[in-house]
């Protein structure tokens, strides 16, 4: 009796799951989702899916045309589009394996409220990045970047690399959701671009595609408000205090030089000057010169790099101060370090953001 009971309890480990019970052949495993506006005012949703049927031999899975497909479904809402996909394919749509969500910048005016609500309730992992793209999200999702790799994985890596390099803000569903739920707090969602260059002719070894994060779209209170270029996005990471690594190119009297700044440490301090918040930001990091003209002086390169860091911060500051969008968590800093002053703002920190003064110091040392 005890052994039978033990077997039943242990089987719970193998039989339990986090979704609907369905045979793997009856599942439609979605890798990425692209959202575009449709002509009737709804959404055209593209799903890059794994299609195991095309792989006849028992070798490793090749995410080529036969195994990775992009399916499109229309709906007035995202849930309706998902239901349409289920009815079209006759399979259970599984979103637990989604790597990336791409939203067309044509949907900027729509806001993110409905998308966030849908993704919160779906199986999509809350750590998945959601990004905007220039033009059609369907085309981005369906891009074939490299033989043997699904576009979703490569696109996700493009986004993650940009975040690692401090050229974009991390825009996971949880981070977007947290940022937009705070009064006056904002987030710069990365903007992904896929550009097609000149045709490389018959040479299949030359790719004419370039993919990258070229900037961001600032979202405040679920509504996109403005665009930010790549420099401003890097500045946001610096002023927010979460930049870790950054590559810079600077001009010196002898020519252009490139350097990589690693191990970035940022200390932020809140004070008040004439009734306005004074944010002191101290940036330190270790540099490594990657390329430089032969006769360039190292001290000059470093000095220019430090100036470049200040310039990135200034761009981000201007972007934030124009409309009072709190891209740096100033409201939360005031609530934490100056609770008595936070009462004056009554929960809306846009005025504090507009009037904030920044004192930024950058000091780099050799790697």
């Amino acid at each position: 009796m005890k052994r039978v009971l033990a077997a039943i309890v242990l089987s719970a480990a193998l039989l339990s799951g986090c979704g609907k019970i369905s045979d793997v052949r009856r599942r439609l495993v979605v890798h990425s989702i692209g959202i575009d506006p449709s002509d009737d005012g709804g959404y055209t949703v593209s799903y890059q899916v794994f299609s195991g049927g095309g792989n006849s031999d028992s070798g490793p899975v090749d995410a080529s045309e036969s195994t990775v497909k992009t399916l499109v479904s229309d709906g007035k809402t995202l849930a309706e589009a998902e239901e349409g996909l289920r009815l079209k394919t006759g399979k259970e749509v599984f979103l637990g394996d989604v790597e990336l969500i791409v939203i067309s910048d044509s949907l900027k005016d729509e806001g993110l409220g409905e998308f966030l609500q849908y993704f919160r309730k779906s199986d999509v992992y809350l750590g998945v990045n959601a990004v905007y793209c220039r033009g059609s999200a369907s085309k981005v999702i369906g891009t074939k970047l490299e033989q043997g790799e699904a576009a979703s994985i490569l696109l996700r890596e493009v986004v993650e690399r940009a975040v690692e390099e401090s050229r974009a803000s991390s825009s996971r569903i949880i981070e977007i959701s947290n940022a937009v739920s705070a009064p006056s707090e904002a987030i710069a969602i990365p903007l992904l671009e896929v550009k097609r260059g000149e045709d490389s002719g018959e040479d299949s070894t030359v790719s004419n595609l370039s993919v990258g994060i070229t900037g961001g779209i600032v979202v405040s209170g679920v509504r996109p408000v403005k665009s930010a270029d790549a420099d401003a996005c890097a500045g946001i990471r610096l002023l927010r205090g979460n930049a870790k690594r950054l590559s810079l190119s600077v001009n010196t009297s002898s020519g252009a030089a490139s350097l990589c700044i690693d191990n970035i440490k940022i200390k932020r301090k809140l004070g008040f000057s004439g009734g306005s918040p004074l944010i002191t930001v101290k940036i330190s990091g270790r540099y490594k010169i990657m390329s430089a003209p032969e006769n360039a002086r190292e001290s000059e390169i470093v000095s220019e790099a430090e100036k470049a860091l200040l310039s990135l911060c200034e761009k981000a500051r201007r972007l934030s101060a124009e409309s009072g969008d709190d891209l740096f968590g100033i409201g939360r800093m005031i609530e934490k370090y100056a609770p008595s002053a936070s009462k004056l703002y009554g929960g809306d920190f846009s005025e504090a953001v507009k009037s904030s003064v920044y004192d930024v110091f950058a000091r780099l040392s050799e790697y």
Binding site: A13, S16, K20, L126, G127, I174, N178, K336, P339
Partner: protein
């Protein structure tokens, strides 16, 4: 038949599992800031430490079952009060756990089936006696501890210490709410009282060990949830479940299934302990455990259908009354009577 006994460590872990089960199924109405919750927990633990004094002294002085001490001729009368109290606690726990299953997982079995299954398993555990529950509790505790540490260490979120803010006037209302909930959820006091006769020795070790363990684990949980998930806990609802929702490794993409396994086993052990307490007035413990489980299942089903929650006004008073009367007043009265008896003997 001699009374079966468990060690102080085993009792401490059973009390802890019961408390952590409550945290697991506790769905915050709003979770804007972690500070009031963390302070509420700290203050409620201090109050619990004070409320536990009569109980700890009574059992440390070698007191037997308080019901037998107070009413030597009719101890069953008081034991029935404990049974009724823990039947309601067991029923509501299972109802809330069923609600959690239904809200977080699609296509799970029907609510009535999960209620019956949990109570059937719990009745079986209770019928095996307190020693079996104690041993199983230790295993479940280590399962929980391993899972908790693992989920926290592989969490993908960054730590944002800006989310830990000082208390302001606006936080006073949630602070008192959490404080009231913390004190009224201290049914470990009547639980300890009911299980005290089964304790081999070390009442102080079991009671205060439990309080330290509870405080450390829950404060760590609240701290992690606040600095990693912040407002998103409000979206997910269940704090412990939320911690697992943002954890990921190369070989475990989702922790939901593992989480569910541990919580399902924990629910069975905890409800099994409640059912065991309910069988105390019964002369036939085995049959009594199945009868108590049947009654508990009925309460669970009514509670589930009516949507009764732990934080609802009437239930809050019921829980708190149990804590004060059965967890503090009864052992205090038993302690006074024991003292008077021993003085008379001298």
């Amino acid at each position: 038949m001699p009374l079966r006994k468990i060690s102080a460590g085993q009792l401490m872990l059973l009390l802890f599992l019961s408390r952590i089960m409550h945290t697991m199924i506790f769905r915050a109405e709003s979770f804007a800031s972690g500070t009031p919750l963390m302070l509420g927990l700290l203050v409620s633990t201090a109050v619990e430490a004070l409320l536990a004094i009569p109980l700890v002294i009574y059992f440390s002085k070698g007191g037997a079952d308080p019901a037998s001490e107070l009413f030597p001729s009719r101890p069953r009368l008081l034991k029935i009060f404990y049974s009724v109290y823990f039947l309601v606690i067991a029923g509501t726990t299972v109802a809330l756990f069923t609600g959690f299953l239904q809200s977080e997982f699609s296509n799970v079995v029907s609510p009535i089936f999960s209620v019956l299954l949990i109570f059937a398993a719990s009745a079986y555990c209770a019928s095996n006696g307190v020693e079996g529950l104690g041993r199983a509790g230790t295993v479940v505790f280590w399962l929980f501890a391993g899972l908790f540490v693992f989920m926290a260490s592989v969490n993908e979120g960054g730590f944002d210490l800006l989310n830990i803010r000082p208390m302001t006037e606006n936080d006073l209302s949630p602070f008192f709410e959490y404080l009231a909930d913390g004190i009224s959820s201290a049914w470990w006091l009547p639980m300890f009282c009911a299980l005290g006769e089964n304790l081999r020795s070390g009442a102080a070790k079991a009671a205060y060990g439990y309080l330290v363990l509870k405080l450390a684990v829950l404060e760590a949980l609240l701290f992690l949830v606040t600095i990693i998930l912040w407002r998103y806990v409000d979206v997910l609802g269940y704090p412990i479940f939320a911690l697992g929702a943002y954890a990921k490794t190369d070989f475990i993409q989702r922790f939901d299934a593992i989480n569910m396994l541990v919580w399902a086993i924990n629910c069975v052990i905890v409800v099994g302990t409640y059912v065991f307490i309910c069988t105390k007035p019964s002369k036939k413990p085995k049959a009594g455990s199945y009868a108590a489980a049947a009654l508990g299942a009925g309460i669970a089903f009514i509670s589930y259908k009516s949507g009764l929650r732990f934080n609802d006004g009437v239930f809050l008073i019921f829980k708190a009354a149990g804590v004060i009367l059965l967890g503090t007043a009864v052992p205090a009265a038993a302690l006074i009577k024991l003292g008077l008896k021993r003085r008379a003997e001298k």
